[in-house]
């Protein structure tokens, strides 16, 4: 591991100031991804600013009845919070489907959003990767691409975003609050935070250097049936081949409004709002959503299975929720 210097800060503004003094710095939160990457020299910051003690690990009600989750709240604490379990079960479900118990106790909300891809070529220091070493090429597109993106990628990169939590946050239309190195603050819809790779796959978010996530804000509870389905190669502790965050509302026996976000398919949480419109009159809601949300997909031979898997998984989820709704109204 490369040498680095280390400091611990005790407030978000101190963190921002520390970054102003050390523009080559990275913030260190749970460390479960950053330290792993530093051991492999994929990340090699000159300076680490430990933000674990900046007082942002709480979860509080917002004025309009939503929930503000501190960026340093641990994944397991968010999943356990009574309000999250009651009002945002899709988020609790997504959180507990990710990583292991040990990692969830340590990993933070902010770090979860900013974790890097698990593309094996990104992790292999001796092979080309435009994300790790811009301009070096992509070994994945013609290589072992089974786990990689089928949509939203580019000729430069087909890495997927590995987070489960972010998929649920996208379905919930969460908002990300940040502080910039100059001390100013901004608010970003989760939909706008991650960017597609294009020709610059090393740029993964719209955050500027030194911008620190301070919290994630959930809107007022939106009701409906919440589901998070994760399909993977092992029953536990594996990344998704396909995942779906679903919030479905029923109007009597009929499906009303739905929200569908896909994981495992794209470089960012994949949700296409147009796919969800007019769904109550659709004869086959799953097909309509999949047709629109997944149009323009460019799968490889190895990962084309994800498209039919996503379609069938959504169909099953909607069927199960329909049956549950029918049972309730009987």
């Amino acid at each position: 591991m490369k040498h680095f210097s280390y400091e611990r800060v005790s407030s978000p503004s101190e963190a921002a100031q520390a970054f102003e003094r050390n523009p080559g710095a990275r913030y260190l939160a749970g460390g479960t991804n950053l330290i792993d990457l530093m051991k492999l020299d994929i990340e090699a910051p000159e300076h680490l600013i430990d933000v674990n003690c900046i007082g942002l690990d709480g979860i509080e009600q917002t004025l309009d009845g939503g929930l503000r989750i501190g960026a340093l709240a641990r994944n397991s604490d968010v999943a356990t919070d009574e309000r999250v379990r009651r009002d945002y079960p899709v988020l609790a479900r997504a959180l507990v489907s990710g990583a292991s118990g040990q990692l969830r106790n340590r990993a933070t909300v902010g770090g979860n959003l900013l974790q890097r891809t698990r593309c094996v070529y990104f992790y292999s220091g001796d092979l080309p990767c435009n994300k790790r070493h811009p301009g070096s090429g992509c070994a994945a597109i013609e290589g072992m691409s089974r786990a990689l993106a089928v949509i939203g990628g580019s000729e430069s990169c087909i890495a997927t975003h590995p987070s489960d939590m972010a998929i649920a946050l996208r379905a919930l239309d969460a908002v990300v609050e940040t502080i910039l190195p100059d001390g100013s603050k901004r608010v970003l819809p989760i939909a706008d935070m991650h960017v597609l790779p294009g020709q610059t796959p090393h740029i993964e978010t719209v955050l500027v250097p030194g911008e620190l996530i301070t919290s994630v804000v959930l809107p007022r509870p939106i009701g409906g049936a919440h589901r998070y389905l994760k399909l993977r190669d092992r029953a536990s502790y594996a990344f998704a081949n396909v995942s779906i965050a679903l919030v479905a509302h029923f109007d009597g026996p009929k499906l009303g409004a739905v929200r569908v976000a896909f994981g495992g398919l794209a470089p960012k949480p994949w949700r296409v709002e147009e796919a969800e419109s007019g769904i109550s009159s659709a004869s086959d809601a799953a097909s309509q959503i999949a047709d629109v949300a997944l149009s323009g997909a460019v799968p490889t031979k190895q990962n084309a299975f994800k498209l039919s898997l996503a379609r069938r998984a959504l169909s099953v989820l909607l069927m199960e929720e329909r049956q549950r709704n029918d049972r309730k109204s009987q």
């Binding site: 280390y6 460390g31 430990d50 356990t80 479900r93 118990g101 990692l103 106790n105 536990s236």
Partner: protein, 182 residues
């Protein structure tokens, strides 16, 4: 010459002070910022019960309890643990007075080579605490009312790999303590 090289490394990285408690004993350490909690426990404090398996958070052999919660000590720098209370396998029980989880692993033969066992036991103790606190898991049918079961044990222990595959006996060992304590 070798002394010069060592001095140079110290200057470049800067040795940092950190103070934490391990198994009830307070330790003031000087560490390289790159040193993981795992290496500090093993190489500075001589607590070699905690094992290094994959060193990348995948196998769980390095699991310790920090503030009562299980975590991978390989994915954490020692300097991040200022003021923390850490518990390792050495702090759970002694040969004549085993921790109930240790006794249950012995009774149910929940090990073969034993390399993963300290991590398994620390993790299992963390699991019982999580069940007590109502932390849900991927297999919990009801997020608000968790029913202890073998499936819950298996899911929650998925971050601990046993290459000898003593899994059925590990589950039996944890189940027995779970049924007594929950």
């Amino acid at each position: 010459m070798s002394i010069d090289v060592k001095d140079e490394v110290t200057v470049k990285t800067g040795a940092l002070d950190v103070c934490f408690t391990v198994n009830g004993t307070r330790h003031e350490l000087k560490v390289d910022p790159r040193m993981t909690l795992l290496d500090a426990l093993r190489d500075i404090l001589g607590l070699t019960g905690t094992k290094k398996g994959c060193d990348q958070g995948q196998c769980g052999a390095c699991t310790v309890l920090v503030g009562g919660r299980r975590m991978n000590s390989c994915l954490s720098f020692a300097v991040m643990h200022e003021g923390d209370e850490i518990r390792t396998i050495e702090g759970l029980g002694s040969q004549s007075n085993l921790h109930p989880m240790q006794a249950s692993f012995v009774k149910h033969d929940g090990l073969q080579c034993g390399y993963c066992t300290p991590g398994q036991i620390c993790s299992a103790i963390g699991v019982l605490d999580e069940l007590n606190r109502g932390v849900p898991s991927h297999v919990s049918e009801d997020l608000n009312k968790i029913a202890p079961s073998d499936d819950e044990i298996r899911e929650r222990m998925s971050g601990n790999i046993c290459r000898c595959a003593a899994y059925p006996n590990i589950v039996a060992a944890i189940r027995e303590v779970m049924e007594k304590e929950l």
